[in-house]
């Protein structure tokens, strides 16, 4: 019993180290953080203004609804991007800095290491996304009085579990291939962007893409969050989007850990657990 408690304490201290290191990096790269935030802001604004642009060009459109739909898509996509970026950095950044060998030879359980990265990614991502949403919403005097933000947050929280699982799977790519891993990660993110209905309903996609969209947690997250914010839907009404997210999460986290474990073993077998760059 005491042995188990000591092990748990050791792992929790290790997990706190992961959180602390990421917080230190955010602090040390503060100007880059600001630059990326301004870039996200500009990028999101450009997308959200499309609704007003269509209206100005004579198109028939509910500008407020379309603006909010695009806003949710852009903001959630930005959140997803942050999550994947931080999780992929589990290996990529450490490899770039050269610390990868010290981190991977330390006595910390890999699931704890990865979950630590996931927790930081969610906390950082939620704060960043909330600020982004608030700043952009202020540009458009949107009426969000009927929005159910609590339900939207529940959907985001459940979806985050799946996102972390998928992030773990993409984090393994730089471990297997130091040169091509990051590129493959970008490709995986790009595919999710197309099939998940970030800026349009998935029903407009070709049939084969619609099939693919059913395995993307972003599809359910976006639909659920839009339903909660645009229509004020509660948890009961959102259950149709929540349960697939729970199922994907239950599968994605263990699958992510197993895949990362196999990737680490491959890297140790072929001598890829070393610095580059």
């Amino acid at each position: 019993m005491r042995g188990a408690a000591a092990t748990l304490r050791h792992e929790l201290i290790g997990l706190s180290g992961v959180l602390e290191r990421n917080a230190n990096l955010v602090k040390r790269y503060a100007w880059w953080e600001l630059a990326f935030f301004v870039w996200s802001l500009a990028n999101t604004l450009t997308i959200v203004f499309i609704a007003k642009g269509i209206d100005a060009a004579g198109g028939k459109i509910d500008v407020d609804r379309a603006t909010t739909t695009l806003l949710i898509g852009a903001v959630i996509w930005s959140y997803l991007g942050v999550l994947f970026e931080i999780l992929t950095e589990t290996v990529a950044w450490e490899r770039w800095e050269g610390t990868i060998e010290y981190t991977f030879m330390a006595p910390l359980a890999r699931p704890v290491h990865l979950i630590g990265m996931g927790i930081f990614a969610v906390v950082y991502g939620v704060i960043r996304t909330a600020v982004l949403f608030a700043v952009i919403a202020s540009f458009f005097s949107l009426s969000l009085g009927g929005a159910n933000f609590a339900a939207a947050l529940v959907v985001l929280a459940v979806a985050s579990v799946s996102f972390i699982g998928i992030g773990m799977m993409t984090a393994v790519l730089p471990l297997i291939s130091p040169e091509k891993g990051m590129q493959m990660g970008f490709i995986a993110q790009g595919i999710l962007l197309v099939i998940s209905g970030v800026y349009y309903p998935v029903s407009v996609l070709p049939q084969w893409m619609q099939w693919l969209s059913t395995i993307s947690p972003a599809t359910y997250a976006l639909r659920g969050i839009r339903h909660a914010i645009l229509d004020g839907a509660g948890i009961n009404a959102l259950w149709g989007d929540i349960w697939p997210l729970i199922v994907i999460g239950i599968v994605a986290i263990p699958a992510g850990l197993v895949i990362f474990g196999l990737g680490e073993r491959h890297a140790k077998r072929h001598g890829k657990l070393k610095r580059s760059g």
Partner: protein, 271 residues
């Protein structure tokens, strides 16, 4: 007590040839370590001499649990390196030729990150980090400066501090003084000597600095193209090869000059 036991340890890597066979580059197996056998007693300092690409770093990486072997066995204080990596990881730390850190973070932040993985809480590190940095001669006023602003010598001192912070019983030093200016080199060597004598640490020092090996180690081994040719006290080595210096002994053992390092780096294993 036996600290390290290595028996017929083998490791090979797949390397792509420059030549193509059809559309694909041919792959070949390159042996990095071939049937390496040796043991180290607790508290002993053993130096392994070898040129670039001789397999020194592969040996250190295997003992650090960063590589999986292709044959043989290795144990650290009775724990199998490949079957019980977590137990081994608690006992081992290393200093490598590159003082690898998060460059924007300070020495204190980097050490704190490393210490957490070994179960050291925030209150413990608040006490231990200033103490260990003081011991390696790191200036107090620079503790919160980014690592990128520190000289190579300073960074290597922090690297030593990182390794010692976790109180390892086996310290793996992979060319810890390569690239340092003469003064920093002496300071680092002096500190290694202090750690060895004061902390009952067992040290495996991989180096291509002959003087360093002779000055610090109880026994010196020659690793050549993945094979450990001998391992004995420096004087015995010189006697065995009827050499005046370790350099001559190295030449006699390998048939090559120590400076001719390109020979082995072309093998394509870890430098």
């Amino acid at each position: 007590m036996t600290a390290v036991e290595v028996e017929n340890l083998r490791k090979e890597f797949l390397r792509r040839d420059a030549e193509r066979s059809g559309l694909r580059r041919r792959r070949r197996r390159v042996p990095a370590l071939e049937d390496v056998t040796f043991s180290m007693e607790r508290g002993e300092c053993v130096a392994i001499l070898g040129q670039n690409g001789s397999g020194k770093s592969t040996l250190v990486r295997l003992l650090s649990t960063l590589l999986l072997h292709d044959g043989g066995r290795a144990s650290v204080f009775g724990y199998d390196v490949f079957r019980e990596p977590r137990a081994v990881q608690r006992l081992v730390n290393r200093v490598s030729v590159e003082a690898s850190f998060f460059k924007k973070m300070s020495s204190t932040e980097n050490l704190s990150y490393a210490a957490r993985f070994y179960g050291m809480s925030a209150s413990e590190t608040r006490e231990r980090i200033p103490e260990i940095l003081r011991r390696v001669g790191f200036p107090e006023k620079r503790r919160h400066e980014s690592m990128e602003h520190l000289s190579r010598g300073m960074q290597q001192k922090v690297s030593l501090a990182r390794a010692l912070l976790t109180s390892p019983v086996l310290l793996l030093l992979d060319e810890p003084t390569t690239g340092l200016d003469p003064r920093s080199k002496l300071e680092v060597q002096e500190f290694i000597r202090e750690v060895w004598t004061a902390h009952d640490a067992t040290i495996l020092l991989c180096t291509h600095d002959l003087a360093e090996a002779e000055a610090l180690a109880d026994r010196v081994g020659i690793l050549d193209r993945g094979r450990l040719l001998c391992l004995e006290p420096a004087n015995n080595l010189k006697e065995r090869y009827r050499a005046e210096t370790l350099e001559e002994a190295f030449f006699a053992a390998t048939g090559r000059e120590f400076e001719h390092e390109n020979d082995d780096s072309e093998r394509g294993v870890f430098a």
